[in-house]
Amino acid sequence: MDAIRTIPATHYLNNGHGLASWLLTKDHKRIAIMYLVTISFFFFLGGLMAAGIRLELATPQGDFVAADTYNKMFTLHGVIMVFFFLIPSIPAVLGNFLIPPMIGARDLAFPRINLLSYYLYLVGGMFTLGAMLSGGVDTGWTFYTPYSAAASNTSVIPTALGVFIAGFSSILTGLNFIVTIHRMRAPGMTWFRLPLFVWAHYATSLIQVLGTPVIAITIVMLGVERAFGFGIFDPARGGDPVLFQHLFWFYSHPAVYIMILPALGVMSELIANFSKKKIFGYSFVAFSSLAIAVFGFIVWAHHMFVSGISVYAAMVFSFLSFSVAIPSAVKVFNWTATLYKGAISFETPMLYAYGFMGLFAIGGLTGLFLATLGTDIHMHDTYFVVAHFHYIMVGGAIMGYLGGLHFWWPKMTGRMYSEFLSRISAILVFVGFNLTFFPQFIVGYLGMPRRYHAYPDEFQVLNVLSSAGASVLGLGYLLPVIYFVYSLKRGEVAGPNPWGASGLEWEIPSPPPTENFAVIPRVTTEPYEFTPHVARERELV
């Protein structure tokens, strides 16, 4: 077997040298790496803001930063993490890298648009960075009117413009994936032979294409109101700020599914591949992704139960919000059933997968508390909400992203990272995460509101726990940077398929050649076929 474990002489990383060969590349794999580097930078920046927030909240008095600065910190934390890290994270890095090889294609359908999409993201990010350097913005990532349109004297327009531009990047990525999945599948790669990762990205892309334009137009309306004095949401002229909230959440609720659906796709791959077993109920898992995408569009008003919408509308939206639990639970149950009697192992990607299942379940179930009208009135705008969505976005989306990155890192670079350090980091992330956010459920239930830089003394113990957890979590996020970078030169050579995984991407060399496949493959098998031979070999190792 050792003979196979070599780095091929030419691959996408050494096919072309110099800065221009990267900045002008149309290779989906290189674009994915550029995204990886850029979003890591934004993740770090958003993380710094989070560190500032947790530092301030370690003591009840507002003693570290002024209230205005605190407002700007949590706003930038939200804007950067949502629009410049979470939304592009899995699709733009892993999806970009993996969808063509997974379906047996040489590239995405529109490589030039893919590059354009990267630059739109970069320009959008620069606008937001510019806004940050020119004094920041204090509206919260939600940009609610009338404050954002008329009152705030911070850089609302540059920030919103950055989000607007990055939105087009997201739309174009989704569009590219939809066309690629429809038109670029290799012969024999039928819809029901697609890896579930691809199904999840298909569902995500639908949301990106249908949802993102709505936030774009909302930002335009906010922009003309702020810049030219138009009056679309201005209550003084009869405009309705609640309309802004409807339009904002019509995108921003489905946006949560843009973040979590690709992570669910990663999870299906991890669980099947590390239990060496065909996934349980393939078509249910595939269609539950589409169901989440569809239900995601009809639940937005659950963010507005206390904004003055009608009781009947609230009841309908409450009921519909519960329905999202069905496809989500289908996934978790099917993963559990897949694990049952599988040849389960505990490599790093799988540790993230186990962590994900627990955290996603807690995040999802607490979502039901908030979808219930009565309890939501008690918990709205408290730390309970903050804890809930961090369980989904950090405990779900980021765990999925890291799990996927650890799983496909040997494919992307041809090298293995330190198994020991990576397991430590997976455990640190899990422990640190729970320590950070579990206390926030309690402190929120007890009544601590979000978005304030000071709080009553009795909440200090729980807040100190949360801040301590955040430092552990931060360490867990920094550690991979070290061993990933180290692995680039010194890591053990991985070979084409170090995990004994199934899927077309594992049949090509690591790192793959620029054209992925010398000859377009013909697919003849079902997904997640593990021959007894492969499974036994892993047990022996």
Binding site: T212, F228, L247
Partner: protein, 240 residues
């Protein structure tokens, strides 16, 4: 198997055949237009809500817009859709000069539309019908500056000038945002067509490969259809 198609200079490396490449472009363009529908959809939503709330203000504001210019522009734009369709057809049957000519005709009609829009906007600026601090729709005690029928007069009398001066601003905010974004789409379309015309002139298109002409056509027809909705909503409904 695809020896002939594989040699076509326009075939990109990620595709196996010209037809796969074309089908991808068509699907991509329709997905993009779907995005555009949702983009304008937000504005239509706002229009619908406020029209229901402020019916009288919307009817009066609508009446203040000159119907002649809107009608003229509708004819011009439908004409440009025809010339665009003829350009696509000419590319499809290898008529290089006709393709270029019809594309230029489309751009000329598009520019006429934008010119008319400039006249209309200038008129609105002159009469302080642009939302903001200078805005004045009705001056108390004065006749309105536009023609009103008996029903319009009734609406004017049952609303205070003060309330009309507030709520008609919502109409004009939407009017300028909607027609402004539509005009921006036309400018982008004309820019796109400059490139396509140049490519057509250079003889890049043939019956085997004319996808860029067809895609620009799809885009142009979409922009046209948006206007087909804007014209009745902003100019026609319930004029009195």
């Amino acid at each position: 198997m695809h020896a002939h198609a594989a040699h076509h200079p326009a075939l990109q490396h990620q595709f196996q055949t010209m037809s796969q490449q074309k089908e991808s472009a068509v699907l991509g363009m329709w997905a993009f237009l779907l995005t555009e529908v949702l983009f304008f959809g937000g504005l239509f939503m706002a229009y619908m809500l406020y029209r229901t709330w402020y019916h009288d203000a919307f009817v009066l504001a609508s009446t203040s817009i000159t119907i002649f210019w809107g009608l003229l522009n509708t004819v011009v734009l439908i004409g440009s859709s025809l010339t665009m369709a003829l350009a696509v057809r000419s590319a499809q049957i290898n008529q290089r000069k006709a393709t270029v000519m019809w594309l230029i005709a489309t751009m000329v009609l598009g520019t006429v539309f934008l010119g008319v829009k400039v006249i209309e906007y200038a008129d609105k600026f002159e009469h302080h019908h642009v939302p903001g601090p200078e805005y004045a729709f009705i001056e108390p005690g004065h006749e309105p500056i536009f023609e009103l029928g008996p029903h319009g007069r009734e609406l004017l009398e049952r609303n205070s000038a003060e309330s009309l001066n507030r709520t008609t601003q919502i109409f004009f905010s939407l009017y300028f945002t909607m027609t402004g974004l539509h005009a921006l789409h036309m400018i982008i379309g004309i820019g796109l067509m400059c490139v396509i015309t140049w490519m057509a002139w250079k003889g890049r298109f043939s019956s085997e490969y004319y996808t860029p002409v067809e895609m620009s056509g799809l885009y142009w027809h979409f922009v046209d259809i948006v206007w087909i909705f804007l014209f009745p909503l902003l100019y026609l409904i319930d004029r009195s």
